[in-house]
């Protein structure tokens, strides 16, 4: 096709993008169709990829197709391996896509559909995709080094050590908050608890099948495991109706939290092939299939969004979590816009599989666009619900009242009409006793997803099956993150302890495995326990803490990226990482300040501790006071650690730009690729 025709096509895409964004942004009063969001997102991603990522690739990173990657130079058939770019894309996407882009947008929908949508689109195109792309490329040019290793080499030892400590702290908070999401989705739900409980024997069965019956036939056993999980979902309805079995699986939040803590500890110390790996396969199988189905479902059903563009809660009085639209919308949605955790994956397995430098663009920038599209689907799933229903599910009893009548009266008074009978009918339709006070985002997402699926497949008769399928889908891959995250953190702690006492660094030595697993599980288990005992539902405190932690990790990644770009003598173009970095510093530091010092006790940890201290002194209030002070201290510590990395980076930039320090990048030496000749 000639250049003029391409210009015309891209011009048309730009016009459609602009029109769709304008409709999404300025439409008021009447409900809007979800397809507008889909069109706006698709066109924005296409333009971002075609023009912005190409500019970064050509003008800043100068991707070189002739430069051999570590996958070629260090190929060993194990970690380093030349792999097809679409295979790497799938592998990378499967690793970055988790519950974050599903839960965050659902929670942020309390502000309306517009703030979350705009942040997801702009954040992904200008920040998240850029971060994943540049960190992946820089890791490829450094033999697949990790973010913490690059931080140490490029910004100095202090920066490296602090980045390492920050990653462990962030992992602990991340694991606690995702565990809390599962607890809130499963509490008092015999159907959901039964289904998830059944995934453990199913995973063990898969492990034995793979080891002793059909070694290595993972796809076959994953399909078998999926069929068994579907059977468990179907069977769950009988369990929930059985007078004898329903009470066994009807658990409150605390026993569920203990069960999850014990499970994660077991998964961390047991051999990987037995539980962790089969569960990971099962989770990935369900995840990729469901995300694809949800995308198709949204296009086929093209539902109407009932949530307004903005709600009254932009003023910070929201029941789902407290805090104004700025900065809290931007830390609540992390994974769909920019997630620091992705930088660990972009500098983990993926750079060791890349065949050519030019492929980092589609893998790094492109896979993050796909993740962002998942976040758009989540915001659609939340906003197809009537706002009254959304707030009934997501509001803690401490805010809206303990009874159905009190909750619906409070929510209707906010201008979102809902009745106890509506909620009872909905709970009955999805096979639950109640849907009130199901904070955490997962149940609301499940109801929205069931609503979309039931309109395209099976009608309202199978709404309950779809709801429990959605709960299972979320809980399954959250538990996989708990398994894998606990293990990753355990390895990191073992690395560090190995410097103090060598045997503790041996990853196969059982006393070390048990000790370090206990340390990690106790760390996130404490925060989880704090969350389930919190009268405000836990999400109000822990999700912002998680968002801050995740975005602070992105700050570290962007510091490293900006330092390298300046060292590459591209300081004039450093704005591509510097602008997102400045934005994240402003957002995270403001959010942290509010979470520590805000005088509103629903927002500030210290003011909540102060209010509790001025009331009657009981054992429970003393614990709550301590927890609030601990949360404030953790937020302050994270902030301090990232400030150190930031200051170290700025010192480097000034030294380089003023000529006091030599700008020398620590890349692997250039070696010309032989792949082109081999292919020829």
């Amino acid at each position: 096709m000639n250049k003029g025709l391409w210009g015309l096509i891209w011009g048309l895409i730009a016009v459609v993008a602009l029109a769709a964004v304008i409709v999404v942004a300025v439409h008021r009063g009447e409900p809007i169709n979800a397809l507008w969001l889909v069109v706006a997102a698709t066109c924005c991603y296409a333009l971002g990829y075609r023009f912005y990522s190409k500019f970064i690739a050509a003008k800043i990173l100068a991707l070189d197709p002739l430069r051999a990657t570590p996958a070629e130079r260090l190929e060993n058939g194990r970690d380093f391996l030349v792999t097809n770019k679409w295979v790497v894309f799938g592998h990378h996407f499967a690793a970055i896509a988790g519950p974050g882009p599903l839960v965050g947008p659902v929670l942020a929908a309390q502000f309306g559909y517009l703030p979350g949508t705009l942040w997801i689109l702009a954040g992904a195109v200008f920040a998240g995709c850029v971060q994943d792309f540049v960190i992946l490329l820089f890791s490829v040019r450094r033999d697949g080094k990790s973010l913490t290793e690059m931080a140490k080499e490029e910004t100095g030892t202090v920066g490296g050590i602090v980045a390492y400590a920050a990653v462990i702290a962030i992992l602990i908070i991340l694991l606690a908050v995702v565990a809390l999401v599962v607890v809130n989705a499963l509490k008092d739900s015999p159907w959901g608890t039964f289904t998830i409980a059944m995934t453990i024997p199913i995973a063990l069965l898969m492990g034995f099948y793979l080891r002793y019956i059909r070694p290595g036939k993972v796809l076959e056993v994953s399909a078998l495991g999926f069929a068994l999980v579907m059977l468990a979902i179907w069977g769950g309805q009988w369990i929930s109706q059985s007078p004898a079995l329903a009470p066994v699986f009807t658990l409150r939040a605390q026993p569920l939290a203990i069960a999850i803590i014990v499970y994660a500890f077991a998964a961390s110390v047991l051999p990987v092939w037995l539980l962790l790996a089969p569960r990971d396969y099962l989770s990935t199988f369900v995840k990729l299939g469901t995300i694809g189905m949800l995308g198709i479902g949204i296009v086929v059903v093209h539902p109407t969004l009932h949530m307004p563009a903005f709600t009254r809660f932009v003023d910070g009085t929201g029941p789902v979590f407290a805090g104004k639209i700025f900065p809290f919308a931007f830390i609540t949605i992390a994974c769909g816009a920019i997630s620091g955790f992705h930088s660990l994956i972009s500098s983990g397995t993926t750079p060791k599989l890349i065949a050519r430098e030019t492929e980092t663009r589609i893998v790094g920038y492109g896979a993050m666009m796909a993740e962002s599209a998942v976040a758009i689907m989540a915001i659609i799933a939340a906003c197809v619900l009537q706002p009254g229903v959304y707030f009934s599910i997501n509001s803690p009893a401490g805010i809206v009242g303990q009874t159905a009548a009190a909750a619906t009266a409070t929510i209707s008074n906010w201008g979102f009409p809902v009745t106890a009978a509506d909620m009872q009918a909905l709970a009955h339709a999805v096979g639950e006793q109640t849907l009130f006070n199901r904070t955490g985002g997962a149940p609301a997402f499940a109801v929205g997803m069931a609503h979309i699926f039931s309109q395209s497949l099976g009608g309202s008769a199978v709404m309950a099956i779809w709801y429990h399928f959605a709960v299972m889908f979320e809980a399954l891959f959250i538990l996989t993150i708990l398994d894998a995250g606990t293990r990753v953190a355990r390895f990191m702690i073992q690395d560090a302890l190995g410097h103090i006492y060598k045997p503790l660094g041996r990853t196969s030595w059982y006393p070390s495995i048990i000790l370090t697993s206990l340390l990690i599980v106790a760390g996130w288990g404490y925060f989880l326990w704090q969350g389930v005992k919190d009268p405000l539902g836990g999400i109000n405190s822990l999700w912002p803490l998680f968002g801050i932690a995740n975005q602070l990790l992105a700050t570290v990644a962007l510091c490293v990226a900006t330092t390298i770009i300046i060292k590459m003598h591209r300081a004039r173009c450093a704005a591509v990482t510097l602008v997102p970095l400045i934005w994240l510093v402003v957002v995270t530091f403001t959010a942290s300040w509010h979470k520590i010092f805000d005088p509103n006790p629903r927002v500030g940890f210290l003011s909540q501790a102060h209010v509790l201290a001025s009331g009657s002194a009981t054992g429970a209030t003393s614990r709550l006071i301590f927890n609030n002070r601990l949360d404030a201290a953790v937020t302050g510590l994270l902030l301090l650690m990232v400030a150190v990395v930031l200051i170290e980076s700025v010192r480097h930039w000034i030294a380089i730009l003023s000529g006091r320090k030599e700008a020398r990048v620590k890349e692997a030496p250039f070696v010309q690729t032989r792949l082109a000749e081999e292919r020829a």
């Binding site: 194990r78 592998h91 796809l219 990987v272 092939w273 390895f491 196969s508």
Partner: protein
């Protein structure tokens, strides 16, 4: 038709890579072993000594 065949081939390769089937096949080739319970155990022993793959939130 060729494009469709290529797309299906790449899709299957991606799925086999994500689900570690390709990694196991490479392990068998590298160690000159045939697929068996013992070979699968050896494959996992080797993998467990590596840092686990992180999964994002």
């Amino acid at each position: 038709m060729t494009t469709l065949k290529n797309a299906v081939r790449i899709f299957i390769s991606a799925v086999r890579e994500i689900f570690d089937e390709s990694a196991y096949a490479r392990f068998l080739k590298r160690t000159n072993m045939t697929s068996s319970s013992a070979a699968y155990a050896a494959f996992w022993r080797e993998r467990e000594s590596n840092r686990p793959k992180p999964r994002c939130c």
